[in-house]
Symmetry: C2
Subunit: 454 residues, 2 copies
């Protein structure tokens, strides 16, 4: 028992600030642009949707942004999250690599999403907002925002992609337990929803459609703002508590990561663990390899185009430059609900464009195989999203074995799979398959991109 | 942020021994008796079902039993579990009470059950057993044993109550993820199962029936033993890590519990937190009030008889003296799957008989109301079983408020509710109701008790 499995911090060790990578980038990220005019967005453009404090964070170039005491006071219900050394997995793989994972499944919602839900609810509350509207796919984000709104006494209105609303009642129940109102999207409560339903009454919904509905509701009512669970700069900022805690925990372990791995849907859990390390490298420190992992079936970073695009289907959001498959892209039905977004966080897209990170995609069957092997070695059953990071961390460990290199691998285990057991049932039942888009389908999806030149 | 919410221990602080309350009791508990002869059981009687080390623990009068290093090495994947001060709940209740909860939902299976699953698998492995058979209701125990067997390379055969097998596929998937084989009970694989099915092909099953099947399978094969998730002395023993950790954590908090609360199905999570404190009181230390909480719909401690009874439906297990509703008792369909057993741990029954603890029962709607209030205050959604403890801890806090007494209340939050959201859906949907047995039904169930005089 001399070698620890877990590196735990005291709640006083929750970081006092978030880390803003924009301060350290060699080239600033391209600005968001107004959806109608194409002109760079001003704070005024964003004001119907977000409170001033979050708009300031979205546009900030300050390296450190203080975390309010009221936010830390909620985060400490579960933070700092543990850093594990996966000694049993290392033995199972017979690898000389040292594998570490930061476990974000300890939050009450079971994922990393509350890290940003709490500050978003807080800043809205401070500025007098009474209600937040948002969208959710599988429900990880919706349940996190529901919890955060409840803590600050805000109403929470969640548009849940209809196919998930019907097939995943448990996350919905979690949102309702926290007091949120959950509506299946497309709904007849918004113009965007009604127009979709008019064209296709049986439309199963998509994240892009649900975003349109939530944005519309937020823009329409003075007391209501919008909250997004990934993609935006301030969301990624809030997730950096993860990587900042890892600094201290890796120091406790007397080690430093050679490779950092995270899965990417919108990009926030990946940025949370990776950006503090990338920034430290940019300031002259050690530079680990950083690997973003996405599904073959939604290959934004690996096969999308780096271009200006809309964040939603109804084209209500600002245009942002990102790796995208086009806002009309609808991924096939696969189970990593959190990794189905057509675009990618502009900051993650930018650091890929700058060559600061690598991106790979993995097949569905491979990620579940990895998830099961991880569960049998470490006990924790990973969420399907997290299985993508597990799969590539394991690949890296096997590469270390093949090369005889005892490297340190750090990955973000962004959530547990207790709400996702249907995906494991389908995997064991042989109902899942791999899916890789043919080139012409990707080309077709990209043909619809708006023609704005950077 | 000066007042901590969490008291965390290092993995080196996992106790080195389990605490055996039998050493401190003023009167020894009545011995188990052979199901056929009624004579006190010998180790030989138990040998077909359990390995020698567990039989020795079952009969031990030693106060401290060392925890093997191999067991601690697995426990530290999630232990020590955190002790929380429920400051937000205290404020919501406006109580002068200090409310603490020990959170066992941090285990990979989401409950306290792995605390005993791991040592049971370990001792069987050491003695050359190749396979463990067990039963499970909602699946908390089955998934914990599946995980533990996987860690030690044992096969795991789980008889799952058929109604849960059909309606709760997610826990089943968790067991299968850990590599276990899960069979719906009653099954045609055992004589007990076949005789039940012959009488009623549509039988939805019960814990008592599933125990019969698992015991039969274990007794029939040399390489197979049986494992039970509650009730037995050695199981309660293994759970005492919980209370022993609380000693250190309450010391960190600079506080001592005046009231300890736990929910009781078979009795193990309750004993885990309570027995170390009761024992300390028996040895001359501080004596907190200790309250066992059970559902109105399965009122073993509050309305059952303290008598010798069988542990299973087919009367294959030894007779044990316990608070029981009769081995033919089938509780109504309510959702706290872990609290449906017809009997109660003999040691818990004995300490109640000795006047060392109190027992109360609570109504179903009340426990979900408490669970939702707890989730909104503290974030964590409790398992329905744990909601029973939450409800009574809250009642005690309100009593403190009424009496103006700033007491310290400690309860065991034995699991999270992420696998139990259907129960919350039913609660919100108005589909749950309270259920209290009429006196004549209890009398009828008790009429079938075996006539063995203590």
């Amino acid at each position: 028992m001399s070698e620890p499995l877990k590196y735990l911090l005291d709640e006083r060790d929750i970081p006092n600030h978030w880390y803003n990578i924009a301060a350290d980038l060699p080239k600033p990220p391209p600005p968001p642009r107004h959806p109608a005019t194409g002109a760079p967005c001003t704070a005024d453009d964003l004001r119907p949707l977000f409170p001033d404090a979050l708009i300031a964070q979205e546009m900030s170039a300050e390296r450190e942004i203080a975390i309010p005491g009221e936010v830390r006071d909620i985060l400490r219900l579960w933070r700092p999250s543990p850093l594990f050394r996966a000694r049993r997995l290392e033995r199972a793989l017979d690898t000389p690599a040292r594998i570490y994972y930061k476990y974000e499944g300890v939050s009450p919602a079971g994922s990393h999403k509350p890290n940003t839900a709490v500050p978003q609810a807080y800043y809205n509350k401070v500025e007098g907002v009474r209600r937040l509207a948002t969208e959710t796919g599988a429900g990880q984000w919706g349940s996190s925002l529901a919890m955060a709104c409840n803590f600050f006494g805000l109403e929470c209105k969640v548009f849940m992609v209809k196919v998930s609303f019907n097939h995943k009642p448990y996350r919905r129940a979690l949102m309702e337990t926290y007091g949120a109102t959950v509506t299946a999207s497309p709904s007849d409560e918004t113009a965007s929803g009604r127009s979709i339903l008019a064209a296709d009454p049986e439309c199963p919904g998509s994240l892009g459609i649900a975003i349109s509905e939530a944005v519309e509701v937020a823009a329409a009512r003075e007391d209501t703002k919008y909250a997004l669970g990934s993609v935006l700069n301030h969301v990624l900022l809030h997730q950096t508590v993860t990587g900042l805690e890892c600094f201290k925990q890796m120091e406790m372990a007397g080690d430093e990561p050679d490779v950092i791995v995270g899965c990417t849907g919108g990009g926030s859990n990946f940025a949370g663990i990776a950006f503090p390390y990338i920034g430290r490298g940019l300031r002259g420190g050690r530079r680990p390899r950083v690997v973003a992992v996405e599904p073959d079936a939604c290959p934004t970073l690996t096969r999308g185009r780096y271009a200006y695009d809309y964040g939603d289907t109804a084209k209500l959001t600002p245009l942002v430059k990102m790796h995208t498959l086009g806002s009309s892209f609808v991924p096939p039905g696969f189970h990593a609900g959190g990794l189905r977004y057509h675009g990618m966080a502009p900051l993650v897209s930018h650091v890929l464009d700058l060559g600061l990170i690598e991106a790979v995609s993995v097949a569905q069957l491979e990620i579940f195989e990895a998830g099961v092997q991880f569960a049998r070695a470490e006990g924790i059953v990973p969420a399907p999203e997290a299985c993508h990071a597990v799969a590539v961390a394991m690949k890296e460990a096997l590469r270390c074995k093949a090369e005889g290199r005892p490297q340190a691998i750090l990955f973000n285990l962004c959530g547990h799979g207790h709400f996702d057991m249907q995906a494991y049932i389908d995997y064991f039942g042989g109902k899942l398959r791999n899916y890789a888009y043919p080139e012409h389908e990707i080309a077709m999806a990209l043909a619809g991109l708006p023609s704005i030149v950077d």
